[in-house]
Amino acid sequence: MTTVFGIPIQALFSQLLVGLINGSFYALLSLGLAIIFGLLNVINFCHGALYMLGALLAWLMLEHAGIGYWPALILSPLAVGLFGALIERTMLKRLRGLDPLYGLLLTFGLALVIQGVARNYFGVSGEPYDIPPQLTGGKNLGFMYLPNYRGWVILVSVLLCTLTWFVTERTRLGSYLRAATENPLLVQAFGINVPRLITITYGLGVALAAFAGVMAAPIYRVSPLMGADLIIVVFAVVVIGGMGSIFGSIVTGFALGVIEGLTKVFYPEASSTVVFVIMAIVLLVKPAGLFGRTT
């Protein structure tokens, strides 16, 4: 058997693929964060909590209303998106123009509240959520057994990331959004409703998080802490990619998933820290992040 650094090449391939799956979640989450930071200048610390809320809603719908995975994939992000719009309208809006630190503190507080309430009602062990019947089973790829559902996660996440990038960079709506970030007053003078645009953006950003949450529900447990465990890594991804860079956050998300996967082969004990080591190095060499603009 061919080996690389003493690891069979097959094992290496399968680890790369597993890394890519984790990277999908990093990319989906960091994408939402990047959009929100890029357009609203808000460091959205409740992103993880809203990701958890997305998964929890999907579970609640299944448990109490019999609504399955597919409708939940639409309904749950919609509900969380509306909730996000409410947060923006009632709270974040008041902090516009202030130091981004205020937004960070507000959203961090919100995250603690949301998680605390969920923990109080659902405990921490989490609730099981089954893989939808259409996606159970898996395929033998020769070097590894790929569960269908994980393949689906990679596929959807790549599609969604491309779509989001396309909308913000290549469409009229996207150009309004980007213009509104640069100079809100001027854009408003052209007759565009900037506050509404911002509310929609925030809603979309957190809806992405909820979507990732529903995608994650069958893989991980639906647990109140699922977001808290992930959010710090995702923030590292955003920082490495460059705050606010949409393209950067997508690429970095997938890349870091792969690097983390490889670490699990060569030195598993370090797998939870490797992302932060990379972050420290990137910050030293390129403080604005790999794809960030220095302003």
């Binding site: 069979p8 097959q10 094992a11 399968s14 680890q15 597993v18 890394g19 799956i21 984790n22 923990r119 405990g123 921490v124 062990s125 989490g126 609730e127 099981p128 089954d130 893989i131 898996g138 590894m144 057994y145 569960p147 559902y149 994980r150 893989i219 991980y220 447990r221 647990s223 802490l225 699922m226 465990d229 992930l230 996967g261 699990k264 082969v265 598993p268 004990e269 797998s271 939870s272």
Partner: protein, 403 residues
């Protein structure tokens, strides 16, 4: 001036502390209240301790009983500082529960230094009654040796003679791996390798793929709580079991099975000291517990907290004093134990509580009559075989007594 004010503070503070220590029995439940081990202990352990106190009418030897609790967040430094404050300032007499072997080992040492009482239920490491034993520690519910001896031995006997371990990377995982490896090799099996993962890892697919490529017949999960749940879930997803390899959950709590669902967990063999549906006494007690705790059945850790506090209070009652921790623990060892959760038992010289252990298999969804009806008993491991023999533990208390 400064010295004078400090002296004054001391004079004022001293009687208060003495007063607090003299009048009430304070029992501190120290465990994970918010993290991956919160469901198997957490507030449930606090409820269990309160139930024990209430059976004494909240009063022993004329002293009212007070139950306090705190969250050690699975960090030995935080646990230690809470314990020190409890003992020195708040007048706590005994600390109970303390899951997480890393924290438990730290608390055992502090408790011995301050001559208080430590009744552990949640932690697994057999070192608590081995190398790290103290005259102030009682280890109630289970330990890594008894788990290895239960699940490990049975699995090897059933033909699972090659093993690969998934190990939680701290004191508990290492101890469980060590004790199980010993059982596996002693019974003619072979350990092919192991991989250590960080505590509270979110994704186990990568570690499981390594276990898969080892071609071992059995993948031993030397982890607990949320980590075990995620390992089992990922294993069923990646077709590890269909591929012919079997999982052996070395430490599985009923709360884990509840979170996994029977569909993912069925067929899993596990060793437990307590199951709510074992006999009439456990059912009656568990019913009382569930009525106070959102309908959730108690885990073996919570049952152990209840039984441990009961026995502690019995010892205090017999002594009519709580001040000398060493004397209280000696009394606990002298008195036979009897409670609805574990039945009759004893506490050995090294602090090990002795009772039977049980090997269970998780039911298939069709066999279960409703929520929490999860286990069927395969075998009872009698009390005299369930725990490590007294002379094999290297506990200084035992070796010193012999000389």
């Amino acid at each position: 001036m400064r010295i004078a004010s400090r002296l004054l503070a001391l004079v004022v503070a001293l009687p208060v502390v003495a007063l607090a220590q003299g009048k009430t029995i304070k029992i501190g439940v120290l465990n994970d209240q918010s993290g991956l081990y919160a469901d198997l202990g957490g507030q449930g352990s606090v409820t269990a301790a309160k139930m024990a106190a209430e059976e004494f009418g909240n009063k022993v030897a004329g002293m009212p009983i007070e139950i306090v609790f705190a969250d050690h967040q699975n960090k030995p430094d935080i646990g230690s500082s809470i314990a020190t404050k409890w003992y020195d300032v708040d007048g706590v007499d005994a600390i109970v529960d303390v899951p997480n072997s890393g924290v438990a080992l730290a608390i055992a040492k502090i408790t011995a230094d301050k001559n208080k009482v430590f009744i552990d239920s949640g932690a697994a490491t057999s070192d608590l009654t081995g190398k790290a034993c103290t005259p102030n520690t009682v280890h109630w519910t289970y330990d890594t040796w008894s788990l290895a001896n239960g699940t490990g031995k049975e699995v090897v006997k059933a033909g699972g003679d090659t093993w690969f371990f998934l190990v939680a990377d701290y004191a508990f995982g290492k101890a469980l791996e060590r004790d199980t490896s010993a059982v596996v090799t002693a019974n003619g099996g072979k350990v092919l390798g192991s991989v250590s993962h960080p505590l509270n890892a979110s994704d186990f697919s990568s570690f499981l793929l390594q276990a898969q490529s080892s071609k071992a017949k059995i993948i031993g999960l030397a982890n607990a709580g949320g980590d075990t749940i995620n390992s089992i879930k990922a294993a069923s997803e990646f077709g590890i079991v269909q591929g012919g390899q079997k999982l052996a959950g070395l430490l599985v709590f009923i709360t884990d099975v509840h979170a996994l669902g029977l569909k993912a967990a069925n067929g899993l063999q596990l060793t437990s000291a307590f199951y709510w549906d074992r006999d009439d006494k456990t059912r009656a007690w568990s019913k009382k517990f569930a009525a106070r705790f959102n309908g959730r059945e108690p885990s073996m850790v919570q049952a152990g907290v209840y039984a441990g506090v009961m026995h502690y209070l019995k010892a205090v009652q017999a002594l009519k004093s709580k001040d000398d921790g060493k004397a209280v623990v000696a009394k606990m060892k002298a008195l036979p134990t009897d409670d609805p959760a574990f039945g009759k038992g004893t506490i050995r010289a090294d602090g090990r509580k002795i009772h039977p252990m049980y090997l269970y298999e998780v039911k298939k969804p069709a066999e279960s009559k409703g929520p929490w009806d999860y286990y069927k008993q395969i075998k009872e491991i009698p009390a005299d075989q369930a725990f490590r023999p007294l002379d094999k533990g290297e506990c200084p208390l035992v070796t010193a007594a012999k000389k």
